[in-house]
């Protein structure tokens, strides 16, 4: 036991012959916002569902605050807030009644529920809807309420399984904003979130754990994935298909490590992430008058993600 809030030890889940989680070992650091990344069927959701006692593990342990959820789920889930996928609520209840119900379930006092409800509804921007029945809410609104109920009783762990899945762009942005505020405002809070959306993970998380075939591929701080070896790759698009001569001209720039044609773009690798080098590259390329129509940073996380998934096949 490491003393970290979430510790998964040799966790295994089998569905007949199919192994969804394959002796997974993973530790989620205290006060981190960890993104769980992996393709469909990688075992992310299964792992989180075992952690939240929605499914039973075949073998192994999953500790929440030092208590094995596979042995004593009631004690393990105390102090844990969860939003698994897009949960539904009882349509006949209002947000306030829902919070009263969930608060009552987790043993909160009536006054505490009331004061926390006001505060949380404000946080998830649902105050004006507090007395309307949930049956009339949009998916985005319901998801904000889901997030709100997870915050009741000041949990020290929050588990989120694809919390923006199925939401429209506005709904996604609203949830991300709430999560960002939560990350910035809370001192003693560990969040683990599975997601398919790389920019979302990049935007919210400070650590990433890559999972495929039910095993952990890599687990590190986000910087280790987005800025590999301190090399930055810029993608340049011209108003025509780049020629060999265009690539050679860019390669000739002293600070450029490598330039190559990828599809209809030129990928230019430069050392360091200093903004001044980027602007210098842009100015130099502009002065070459090649007809640049777009200049953007390559998604390093996506590249790492694809590489890792490819390697693990």
């Amino acid at each position: 036991m490491t003393g970290d809030p979430i510790e998964i030890v040799n966790l295994r889940k089998e569905y007949g012959k199919f192994v969804a989680v394959n002796d997974l070992n993973l530790t989620i650091k205290k006060n981190s916002f960890t993104g769980l990344l992996g393709p469909n069927g990688a075992g992310k959701s299964t792992t989180l569902k075992i952690l939240t006692h929605l499914i039973n593990a075949t073998s192994g342990q999953a500790y929440l605050n030092g208590i094995d959820v596979t042995v004593d789920p009631k004690s393990a889930l105390t102090g844990v807030g969860t939003v698994i996928e897009t949960p539904e609520f009882y349509p006949y209840l209002t947000p306030r009644e829902t919070f009263r119900y969930v608060g009552g379930l987790i043993g909160m006092r009536r006054e505490a529920i009331k004061s926390e409800t006001d505060e949380i509804l404000e946080k998830v921007k649902m105050t004006q809807w507090q007395d309307k029945r949930l049956g009339t809410f949009s998916k985005g609104m319901r998801q904000r309420i889901a997030l709100g109920q997870a915050l009741l009783n000041d949990p020290n762990i929050i588990i989120l399984d694809e919390p923006t899945s199925g939401l429209d762009p506005r709904g996604m942005a609203e949830i991300r904003e709430v999560l960002k505020n939560l990350r910035n405002d809370s001192r003693n809070l560990t969040i683990v979130m599975s997601s398919h959306i790389l920019p979302e993970v990049e935007d919210l998380c400070d650590r990433i754990a890559f999972i495929n075939h039910g095993t952990l591929l890599k687990d590190n701080e986000i910087g280790a994935f987005t800025n590999v070896d301190g090399i930055l790759t810029m993608m340049i698009k011209l108003n025509r298909v780049p020629t060999e001569a265009d690539v050679n001209r860019v390669s000739a720039l002293g600070y450029v490590i490598r330039a190559e044609r990828i599809g209809e773009e030129i990928a230019v690798s430069i050392k360091g992430t200093d903004m001044r080098i980027r602007s210098r590259l842009l100015e130099d390329i502009a002065s070459m008058r090649m007809g640049v129509i777009s200049f953007k940073e390559q998604d390093a996380l996506e590249e790492t993600y694809l590489d890792l998934i490819k390697e693990s096949r």
Partner: protein, 338 residues
Amino acid sequence: MMVGDFRQICTITKNELIKSVRGKKFLVSLLIVLLVFGLITLLGYATNDWNPKFTTANIISTYMSYIGVVTLLIVALMSSVALVSEFEERTALILFTRPVRRTSIFIGKIFSCLIIEALIILVYYAIVTAFSLYHVGEVSDKMLTSYVLCVLYAFAASGVAFVISAFFKKSSVCTIISLLVLILVVPVITGMLKGDTWFMLDTAGNSIITCVPEYVKAYNETVDMFTAVISNAADVLKGFASPEMQELAKSLNEVILSGGLSTLDPNVIAMIVTMDQFFLSIPVDNITDMADVLNMMVGSDMMKKIDNPNVLLEGSVLIIWGITGYLIAWCKFVRREF
């Protein structure tokens, strides 16, 4: 179970009650109760079946005969969806991820279903009681026993509905299967069993009405009346087909053919000839069979008199049915994965 668990059970029960009362199923169940009462009353008035000299037995046999089916309908509507709805409507994602034992959730759901079902059944009993007081001026003193047995019947049927709810994935399927099992399958099995079926759900459920002595008395009087009518009819038929009667008809026919009746009035002759032809044309074998069938009817279960049931035994049977159902459902529910 600890104090915390008990508090959680209360919280879940309360929420389930709010959910039920605000939901459509509660209203539909209430409507069924009112509709059944209204239809029986209206049909009674429309067919002029209402005797101004009402008795408690009339009221009981008219209205309480349907309470068993009404109870099963209510149970199929309310209990059959209690467990499955958490999975189908994805509310389990909130409820099951909380520090609450599945057993506490299960018990809370049993309590809420029972309370709601007992309330709806109470509405029916209250209306029948009020009607009885209005028309007869009194009510059977076994009405309360009948109500308690009816609630126990709902408890038992609910156990069966919970089993179905724990195993299936769709609420609508659970409701239909519960209805089929409770209203069709169980009685068919009971019908196929030989001997006393006191241990069967529907037989024990019959005690709701047979525990009322006025009903038993009125029912047995009706059985006596029917038995007497059918027995007499069988005797008459057998008499027609008896060898003596056939012999007599043949002798009479010989007299007619020999002209021995020629001195009589022609109308009298015609009548005697017609009667003689009738007796001679009787299919003796068929008539004997018909008489046997009638005698079999008299001895069948259909014409059996009923006794006041052993309320304690039948109540226990219902409780055992309920507990067995809940135990099976619980075993599945606590292990069921989302």
